[in-house]
């Protein structure tokens, strides 16, 4: 399982995504753009609307009340010994319900081979609004994850090949915050058993119970189109073979219009599977319909 498989995997995947994108473009007549620029945020590595590594209380796309929205996304991270590739689709109705599907592939450059999983996501906005009113927008979300390469996770002590994360998020934008700029903040609390997102399975020899993890993002809009910020994601530590560390990143987001959003980031993933100093570059592209 080396480069040969990678090459085989991606052309087929990208063809099917392009097909889906074509389908979605055809349904554009039904899609809405009633939300303000950037208020649909971008798409996280688990397919949920949010930042890069943190799902936000925002719903993906620009669909407002009574409107449908769709996004097609690609995320890529390249750190010292690993490469993460994610493709995802997102369907949103009425700034209320967000459904997502994502496939993740982690290339193990040093160890060899790869780890893959599929993530089915659901998010419901419970109350509040990102921009208007005093209260934050609050959403409840689920991420059901199925690891399709469980041999390696099992060998290092993982208990299950599938798991479901439950999270509660609160997000708020301040139109004229410090420096008279627009700021956005999100706090997410997640109950999870996932090891390295689930790519190393769920639960393990060290701990096999759900634990609560805090995740946060903070960003400042330099102007209407450029967002700079940072994120932090607390992670569980369930496997005895290698300690799992919290993740962090600093990012720049570009929202040229309501169709495209591009993010580049510097990520610090600490040590993964015992390999230290996993820092590197991250990029994501979101196409909205």
């Amino acid at each position: 399982m080396t480069k040969h498989n990678m090459i085989k995997l991606y052309p087929r995947t990208w063809r099917s995504w392009l097909f889906m994108a074509a389908l979605l473009t055809g349904s554009q007549a039904y899609a809405g753009d009633g939300k303000l620029l950037a208020t649909g945020a971008v798409t996280s590595i688990e397919g949920a609307g949010g930042g890069g590594i943190v799902p936000w209380a925002t719903t993906a796309s620009y669909a407002e009340k009574g409107e449908w929205g769709f996004t097609v996304n690609g995320n890529f991270a390249d750190v010292d010994d690993f490469q993460l590739g994610v493709q995802s689709l997102n369907v949103t109705y009425g700034n209320r319900i967000e459904m997502s599907y994502a496939q993740q592939r982690l290339g193990l450059n040093t160890i060899g081979g790869d780890l893959q999983q599929q993530i089915y996501g659901l998010k419901v906005r419970l109350s509040g609004d990102l921009v208007y009113g005093d209260l934050p927008q609050i959403s409840l979300g689920l991420q059901h994850k199925r690891n399709t390469t469980f041999a390696l996770p099992q060998a290092v002590g993982a208990a299950d090949d599938s798991g479901t994360d439950i999270y509660l998020s609160a997000a708020k934008a301040w139109l004229a915050g410090p420096f008279e700029r627009t700021w956005v903040a999100n706090l997410t609390l997640r109950a999870t058993k996932a090891n390295q997102l689930g790519l190393l399975g769920f639960g393990g020899d060290k701990n096999d119970d759900y634990e609560a993890m805090a995740e946060a993002s903070l960003g400042m809009f330099v102007n209407r189109h450029w967002l700079i910020g940072a994120e932090y994601r607390q992670k569980p530590d369930n496997l005895g073979f290698a300690k799992e560390y919290d993740w962090r990143d600093i990012f720049v987001g570009w929202f040229p219009n309501k169709s495209v959003a591009l993010v580049v980031a510097y990520v610090d993933l600490k040590s993964i599977a015992g390999l230290p100093d996993q820092t590197g570059a991250y990029a994501s592209l979101q196409i909205s319909f």
């Binding site: 009633g34 700034n95 301040w174 139109l175």
Partner: protein, 141 residues
């Protein structure tokens, strides 16, 4: 020493009202006072006129009066020396069933107008923050 304290107190007393005054009409001044606001509202009305998402709400509107009332309201909201004499936002929008998407469309028209008039981002943000407070009075529940 006594004199120095007295002098400082005198200074503080004489500066304080002017500081408060400066603070309250800063946004008004930043927008270019009466003329700047009037120009901005002219561009804003033109943006709305070309916006298919919301133009149907303005079919029977007296544009001159609309522009005058908008300018007056904005002058008052930004701390300028005006008194808005029109009806309140709830009354003005009663029965229009303004949707959240339509409200946002008008916000985008205002942003486009501010960009066209060269209003700096900081000033834009301060104005948008004040106007966002009206969301609850304008959008139909």
């Amino acid at each position: 020493m006594k004199h120095l304290v007295a002098l400082l107190v005198l200074c503080a007393v004489s500066i304080a009202p002017s500081l408060a005054q400066a603070k309250s009409d800063t946004l008004y001044q930043e927008l270019g006072a009466q003329q700047g606001i009037s120009d901005l509202m002219t561009t804003f009305v033109l943006e709305i006129a070309e916006d298919e998402r919301v133009i149907h709400h303005f079919e029977n509107v007296d544009i001159d009066r609309f522009h005058r009332m908008l300018s007056l309201h904005l002058c008052e909201l930004t701390g300028g020396p005006c008194t808005y004499t029109g009806a309140d936002m709830v009354e003005v929008h009663r029965g229009m069933a303004i949707t959240r998407a339509e409200f946002n469309a008008v916000v985008e028209d205002l942003i486009a107008a501010m960009e066209a008039e060269g209003v700096p981002t900081a000033t834009q943000n301060k104005l948008l923050a004040r106007l966002a407070e009206l969301h609850g009075e304008i959008v139909a529940r």
